[in-house]
Every structure is written in structure tokens, then in C-alpha cells.
């Protein structure tokens, strides 16, 4: 809000306020959109609607946080959509096919996520494949694995699995993650904020986090300073896989079943959110808070447009337009 207060009338922008304007442009865009939707629709500015937005945003936000970690080390992880899918299948299969407890239903998908992250890191750090290509390959491989494992059928309560009847249930405690709420706030949203807080502290308040940024800023300089470049990149991809798996768990809980390839549509929203976050403070530097705001921006937009009865298929046009505006503010800044 201080940025708002600092805004003078048009025509007498000092370089300092201009800088502030650029820096907080994306934040202003979010606020402007909120104001617009509030006037356009009475139900928009309600507590219930905002918890809905948070709930719907949370899944792609977890994936976006994963992408953010890969961006911090100047990489790019596009396998997160498939990781979310395989995490979904892993969680559902644990409960429904293998009748396991809550802990197993959470640990299995997390392990799957970290494993994919480590394989990504192996391809990138040890074999030297370009980040985008390695994770793109893994996107296919992982997607194929979860489809092969399930023969392409979703796993839900009472479904048959590979020709045999299943006896397990989606545990109510597991369903709480995506569907429950505490004091009116969705559990998924609370979980998201906790993860955001931890990730933020890690990246901005620990030297390991800063070293990740140093690797991303100039990997060669990092190597010539003796920073463990390979390990830091491996850690980033492992975290990315882990966070995508968390997104997959929340997704499973939300829909109450293990739907095949459920994570795939999340990928592009997550990438967009991370890049909006990259641009959001005009710094061109990936950040956790920026990514959260990016995800919120996209969520608010979709929610508001839906309320205004904008057809679903037209929403992508608006989404793309906002993406352009947010990035333009950051990238045009150099030229003035």
C-alpha cells in the first residue's frame, strides 16, 4: 500500500517513483483487478470467495514453487506436471489398492517426487543435458510410467485395478488436506502459506539459499569460488520434485481419487505463475513471494472472469494478456 501512497499525480513522476511504479506494477495490476471485479460483481469481495480462490490456486501454486526453485539455479523444470500426476496415482494407489495408512499415502508420493527430481538432476548435472530438454524428456517418461502402471484408468474407491477389485478407501483424514478447513480457512491454503514461508526463509535467510541464487546468477563464477554447484542444482531439482508431489497430494485429496494425468493441465499455469513472480518486483529474479502473487493473480483472474460469465475458453486469452503485461513491465524497464 505504501506504493499506492507514493503515487503522485500524473506528469510529475520522479525517477524514484517511476522506479517504484515499475517495481510494484504487477502488484498494482492485482489490486486493480480486485477493485474491478469488486465493482463488477457483489459476490467477489467476500471471505468465502477468497478462500475459494486460495483453495483453487493452491495446487498450481505448489507446482509453481517447484518451478521457482529450478529457476533460482537458472534451470527450468517442466516435469512437475507429470510429477503431480504420478504423486496422485501414488497416493491413491497406496490407499485404495494397498490399503495403507495416511502416512504411507503421503510419504509414497513425496518419495516419487524427490526421485524424479534426482533423476532430473542426474541428467542435467552429471550428463550435462540442457535443463529444459532433460525435464521435458522426464515429463514424457513419468507420464508414461503412471499411465502404464494404471493401464490408463483412474484409481477411485471401488474401482478395479488391473482387473482386480480394490478394497481400500480414500481415508477421511487424507481428504481433509484438500477439502477440509480450519476456522473457515482451507487446509490446503494454510499448507500453502506454511510452505511458502519455509521456502521464503530458506531462499532469503540462509546462505544455502543465497548460494543457489549465486549458482543461478553465474554458475561459472560459483564454480570458480568453490561453491558446490552440482549439489546445489541437485538440491533445487529435488525440492522442485518434492513441491510438485505436494501439489499432487493436495490434488488427489481435492478430487478424492487418483485421476490419471491429473497434473498435466497444471503445468502451464504453474510456469506462468513462476514467471509472473520472476517479473513481479521488477527484479527479474525468481522469488517465492513473487510466485505466490503470480499464482494469486492468475487465480483471481479466473475466478472473477468465471463470475462474470466469461466463457471458459476465452479465459486463456485474458490469462495470456495479463502474462504479457506483467512481463512487459519487468522487461521494458531496462530501456528507459
Amino acid at each position: 500500500m505504501s506504493a499506492m501512497a507514493a503515487l503522485p499525480g500524473p506528469g510529475r513522476l520522479s525517477p524514484r517513483t517511476k522506479d517504484l511504479l515499475y517495481r510494484y506494477a504487477a502488484v498494482l495490476v492485482i489490486l486493480a483487478i480486485i477493485v474491478f471485479f469488486s465493482f463488477a460483481n457483489d459476490n467477489f469481495l467476500t471471505f468465502k470467495n477468497f478462500t475459494d480462490i486460495l483453495r483453487s490456486v493452491s495446487i498450481s501454486a505448489f507446482l509453481a514453487l517447484g518451478v521457482t526453485f529450478s529457476l533460482v539455479v537458472d534451470g527450468f523444470d517442466v516435469s512437475i506436471g507429470s510429477v503431480a500426476s504420478i504423486a496422485t496415482i501414488g497416493a491413491a494407489a497406496s490407499m485404495i489398492v494397498f490399503r495403507q495408512e495416511l502416512a504411507v499415502a503421503i510419504i509414497v508420493p513425496l518419495l516419487l517426487g524427490v526421485t524424479v527430481g534426482l533423476v532430473n538432476a542426474f541428467l542435467i548435472v552429471k550428463l550435462g543435458l540442457p535443463d529444459l530438454l532433460a525435464t521435458l524428456a522426464m515429463l514424457f517418461v513419468v507420464n508414461g510410467i503412471q499411465l502404464t502402471y494404471t493401464n490408463g484408468y483412474s484409481i477411485y474407491q471401488g474401482s478395479s485395478f488391473n482387473g482386480e477389485a480394490t478394497t481400500g478407501v480414500m481415508l477421511p483424514s487424507f481428504l481433509k488436506i484438500g477439502q477440509g478447513s480450519i476456522l473457515g480457512i482451507p487446509v490446503a491454503a494454510i499448507l500453502l502459506l506454511v510452505v511458502v514461508a519455509i521456502a521464503h526463509v530458506f531462499l532469503t535467510r540462509t546462505t544455502v539459499g543465497r548460494n543457489m541464487y549465486m549458482v543461478g546468477g553465474n554458475a561459472e563464477a560459483a564454480r570458480h569460488f568453490g561453491l558446490p554447484v552440482g549439489r546445489l542444482r541437485t538440491l533445487a531439482y529435488a525440492i522442485s520434485g518434492l513441491l510438485a508431489a505436494v501439489g499432487g497430494i493436495v490434488l488427489t485429496s481435492r478430487i478424492g481419487a487418483g485421476q490419471v494425468s491429473a497434473g498435466a493441465p497444471m503445468l502451464m499455469d504453474a510456469v506462468a505463475a513462476a514467471y509472473v513472480g520472476y517479473a513481479i518486483f521488477g527484479q527479474k529474479r525468481p522469488s517465492v513471494v513473487g510466485t505466490l502473487l503470480g499464482a494469486l493473480l492468475i487465480g483471481i483472474l479466473l475466478n472473477g472472469l468465471t463470475m462474470m460469465n466469461v466463457p471458459y475458453y476465452a479465459q486463456d486469452i485474458v490469462k495470456g494478456g495479463v502474462f504479457i503485461i506483467a512481463l512487459a513491465f519487468a522487461f521494458l524497464r531496462k530501456s528507459d
Binding site: 532469503t204 535467510r205 546462505t207 549465486m214 570458480h224 569460488f225
Partner: protein, 521 residues
């Protein structure tokens, strides 16, 4: 048919770097341009090739004043620089003949279609004319560095070059390649090409040059026909004859005896011989080596180098460009894979750069902007890199204030982005990011490149302080003045076997001629 740079003066805004320099290239002649780094050679070359316009003065071709707004115009007038980085000017995915005809077609107007076969024939004819044996259909990426360099040379001629600027062209060649390269250059000269020749290798200069011009601090200090001047005179012109700062080897009284009488023109070979004898009797630095490692291989002949670094000693590795100094620095920091070192009498395997830092090895790399600093990070971030654990703002601010003062970083602003510092101050940051605790070994690879005189002396002082505190310093350079300013011992690289000699009493001439003379004997 003469290219003249007349009364050039240039100023980057930080004081003039060229003062009224006039430089002429005649067709069919080689004019050598000599000087230490920062003497103004690069500026002169950049002006001649149209990279930027001089503050004052003009470029005259055949009595016609011309102005180059960009490098393309210089090329249009036939002024071509043979760059050291050949990979940038060739298209690696294309064949030899394609790289040649690209240049030609650009020169003689545009055709929309072409015949690969006639292009190949033309390319073959061109290569044959200068006795170059090269399959024109080979992809450029499969060529050796030497072949690429030759291709660049031929291509320059194909694009109607009249004046060719060679900047350290042979730095990565072996002796035979050097000879073949100059054979081609001589053929080009015979065809009427005018050549500007920049080299640190004085023997090549004297073999090839008709004229010699020496720049120092942006002024012409020597201009002469090559046969009217002796190597010693040239070296003296290059280095200025006197060394401004007091040499470390003369201040620190643990070197050998003075080896030459003042005023005596030293006989290089005997000086080095004496120096070697001296090395065995008087040890520079005391006690067991703090760090030793064997079997580093460097240079085009894969010369094997063993290093023994003593605590508190500055060992300068002196060698011309391309002699493998950077490779040595990189190997020592385990950037080229693991090696075994002896540290305090224990054998350790150094597998990664991280291991190297754990052993207390610090590296200030040669390419400062790419490897030494993060251009888009703040000074404060660099100076906090040595810390571990939680980021505590106050601890970092204290450390960065402290280090900025100790390394004299100007301006003393920890929030300043490193890109916006001068070269010298960037280098101070590259040093200071290692902190001021005592390192076991400091590896400094050409640390004074692009560093202004003031910053230079303050960096030298820092290096001496580090050494006096017990750090073993390995200083790699091709600049004889810098080498002798800081050295306790000098390891001379070159065409022959590497030798270590005490620095005391050595002159720049000894260093610059040590290898060539040896060969003649």
C-alpha cells in the same frame, strides 16, 4: 596505399589513454605494435577497426581522411582484424568453403543463388595459392585451432583486406605451426598486404617486422625500423626501464645475492644459470612446502609441472599468452578434475573446487567478468559469500564494511552493483570475496588485467600482506614488470623446460628473452 592513424588521442572519460599517437602501415610491410597491457594498443586497434571513433585525430587512407562509424566500414576500406577468438568469427556448422564464400559474397554484392561446386573450386584455388592444405568440404567445427586461425587469415584476404591487424596470432601454436603461419603471412605480404603485428614474443617480432612502434602509457616511446634497434632497447621502451614501486624481492631480505652489477647489460643465459645455482644454495621461504603437487600438464607440449609452494612466498609463473598459465591455475583449483596434493606432509586428493577451498586454496580467475564476480550482484553479496548458516544482516554489514576498507573498494558502498564498478574495483571485489582470513594458497591468474595504476598498487599491497601473513601466493602473468614487482621466485614457462629462479636481480629482459636465447645457444 597507406593506412595512417594520425595524431590519435583518446579518452574513455577517466583520463587520456592515447596521446597524439601516429601510426602508419605501408603495403607489403609489417609494422609491429608493442607495449604492456594498458599501454594503449587495444584502444589503437579498436579505433583502426572502427569499434569507436577517437576523441581527436584522424584515420587517413591514401591521403584521404576517412571515418569509420562501425567495424563494417573499416572492413569495407580493407582494414581487418584477425581476432584471437576465431570461434566467434567462423560459423562452426558450415564447411570451410562456405565460410570462405560467405565473406566473398558479402564483399562483391549479393547473388541470390550459388553453385556449391564452383564455390568449392574457388575456395580450393584460394587455399592452394597460399599453400594451405585443407579439405574445403570439412565442417569448421572439426578443424584444429591452428586450421581455424589460418582459415580466418585466408578469409580476411578473400574479403579484400588490404591492412591486416594480427593481435597475438600465434599464442596457441606450437613452434612448427608458428613457422607455417608466418609462411602464409609472408606470402600475403608479398602480395602487397600491410600488416600490423602485436605480440609479446620479441623473437617473432624481430623475425617478421619491418617497423617497430612501442607504446607506453598511451604515448609513442619508440619508433624505428626493426633493423635499427636492439631487443634490449625495445624491452626498455616497453617497460620504461624503471620500476615505479619497490620490488618485493628487494625489500624482503631473504632472496639470493644480487646477481648482476648495476649498469651491466646482463647476459641472459648466464644470469639464469647463476640464478639457478643461487636457487639451490639460498632457499626462498623457509621450511617445508605448505602445498605441493606434481604432474600438472600445461601448454601445447604437455609440459609437466611440479609445484612446491612455501608459506609466505610469492611464486610468479611467468609465460607468454598461451603458455598454459590459466590451465595450471584451473588444475590447481581442481576445475580440470582431481589431483593429489601434499599438504603439511599429508597426501590429499583434491576432487572438486569445493575440496580446494576446504584446503584453503583461493582463486582469482583470469576472466574477471565471467568467472571472478557476479556482475549483477551487489558488492555486499560478494563480501558475504564466505559466511555460512543463517543470513544475519548486521554480521554481513560489518564484514562487508571491514573488507571494503581493507581492500580499498571505491566507492565504499555495499549496495553497489558490481557491473557499475571500475575494472580495478571489480578486481578488488574478486579478491575480497575470499575474505581476509589467511589462505593456504592464493592462485592469482593475471590479476592486473584491466586494472588501473592506483588500484594495482593497492592490490599488490594486499598480496604482500597476505604473503607476509603466511599465505603461499601463486601469481601467474605475462607482464614482466608485474612479475618482478611481486615475485620471490619466478617459474619461467616457454618453449623450453620450465625453470624456477629467484626474482632478485632479474630484469624484464631476462624474462622476455629467457627462452629464445636458450634455444639459440
Amino acid at each position: 596505399m597507406t593506412l595512417t592513424l594520425r595524431d590519435l588521442t583518446h579518452d574513455y572519460g577517466t583520463g587520456p589513454v592515447l596521446h597524439n599517437v601516429t601510426f602508419t602501415v605501408q603495403p607489403g610491410q609489417v609494422h609491429a605494435l608493442l607495449g604492456v597491457n594498458g599501454a594503449g594498443k587495444s584502444t589503437l586497434i579498436h579505433i583502426a577497426t572502427g569499434m569507436f571513433a577517437p576523441t581527436a585525430g584522424q584515420i587517413v587512407i591514401d591521403d584521404e581522411p576517412v571515418a569509420f562509424a562501425h567495424p563494417g566500414q573499416a572492413r569495407h576500406h580493407g582494414v581487418v582484424l584477425l581476432a584471437q577468438e576465431v570461434d566467434r568469427s567462423l560459423v562452426p556448422q558450415l564447411a570451410v568453403h562456405e565460410n570462405l564464400t560467405v565473406a566473398q559474397r558479402h564483399g562483391i554484392g549479393r547473388r541470390w543463388w550459388f553453385s556449391p561446386r564452383s564455390d568449392q573450386r574457388a575456395a580450393r584455388a584460394l587455399l592452394d595459392r597460399y599453400g594451405v592444405k585443407l579439405d574445403v568440404t570439412r565442417q569448421v567445427s572439426t578443424l584444429s585451432l591452428f586450421e581455424k586461425q589460418v582459415l580466418c587469415l585466408i578469409r580476411a584476404v578473400a574479403s579484400n583486406a588490404k591492412y591486416l591487424l594480427l593481435d597475438e596470432p600465434t599464442s596457441s601454436f606450437d613452434a612448427e605451426q608458428v613457422a607455417r603461419f608466418y609462411e602464409i603471412v609472408r606470402a600475403l605480404i608479398a602480395d602487397g598486404l600491410g600488416v600490423v603485428f602485436i605480440s609479446h614474443r620479441l623473437n617473432e617480432v624481430f623475425e617478421l617486422a619491418d617497423e617497430i612502434t612501442v607504446l607506453r602509457d598511451g604515448r609513442t616511446v619508440l619508433e624505428s625500423a626493426a633493423d635499427q634497434v636492439t631487443p634490449a632497447e625495445v624491452v626498455e621502451a616497453i617497460t620504461g626501464g624503471d620500476v615505479a614501486a619497490v620490488r618485493r624481492s628487494e625489500r624482503v631480505s631473504r632472496g639470493g645475492d644480487s646477481l648482476i652489477e648495476p649498469g651491466e647489460i646482463p647476459d641472459v643465459v648466464s644470469t639464469l644459470r647463476q640464478a639457478q645455482d643461487g636457487a639451490s644454495s639460498t632457499s626462498v621461504g623457509e621450511g617445508a612446502p605448505a602445498f605441493a603437487a606434481r604432474g600438472f600438464t600445461i601448454g601445447r607440449n604437455h609440459t609437466s609441472i611440479d609445484l612446491e609452494l612455501k608459506s609466505g612466498e610469492v611464486l610468479v609463473v611467468f609465460g607468454p599468452l598461451g603458455s598454459g598459465k590459466t590451465s595450471l591455475a584451473r588444475q590447481l583449483f581442481a576445475l580440470r578434475g582431481s589431483y593429489v596434493a601434499t599438504v603439511d606432509g599429508h597426501e590429499v586428493t583434491v576432487k572438486t573446487p569445493t575440496d580446494a577451498t576446504r584446503l584453503g586454496i583461493a582463486l582469482v580467475p583470469e576472466e574477471r567478468r565471467r568467472h571472478g564476480v557476479w556482475l549483477d550482484e551487489t558488492v555486499g553479496t560478494h563480501l558475504a559469500l564466505g559466511l555460512n548458516g543463517w543470513i544475519r544482516k548486521r554480521r554481513e554489514a560489518r564484514r562487508s564494511d571491514d573488507l571494503m576498507a581493507k581492500f580499498d573498494v571505491q566507492p565504499r558502498e555495499s549496495g553497489r552493483i558490481v557491473r557499475r564498478l571500475s575494472g580495478g574495483n571489480q578486481q578488488k571485489v574478486a579478491f575480497a570475496k575470499w575474505g581476509d582470513d589467511i589462505h593456504r594458497v592464493m592462485v592469482l591468474d593475471e590479476p592486473m588485467t584491466g586494472v588501473d595504476v592506483g588500484a594495482k598498487e593497492s592490490l599488490f599491497t594486499r598480496i604482500e600482506q597476505a604473503a607476509d601473513a603466511g599465505t603461499a601466493v601463486l601469481y601467474l602473468t605475462a607482464e614482466p614488470d608485474d612479475a618482478l614487482r611481486i615475485a620471490d621466485r619466478v617459474l619461467v614457462l616457454g618453449d623450453g623446460e620450465p625453470r624456477t629462479v629467484p626474482a632478485r636481480g632479474l630484469t624484464p629482459l631476462d624474462l622476455m628473452f629467457s627462452n629464445e636465447k636458450e634455444r639459440e645457444v
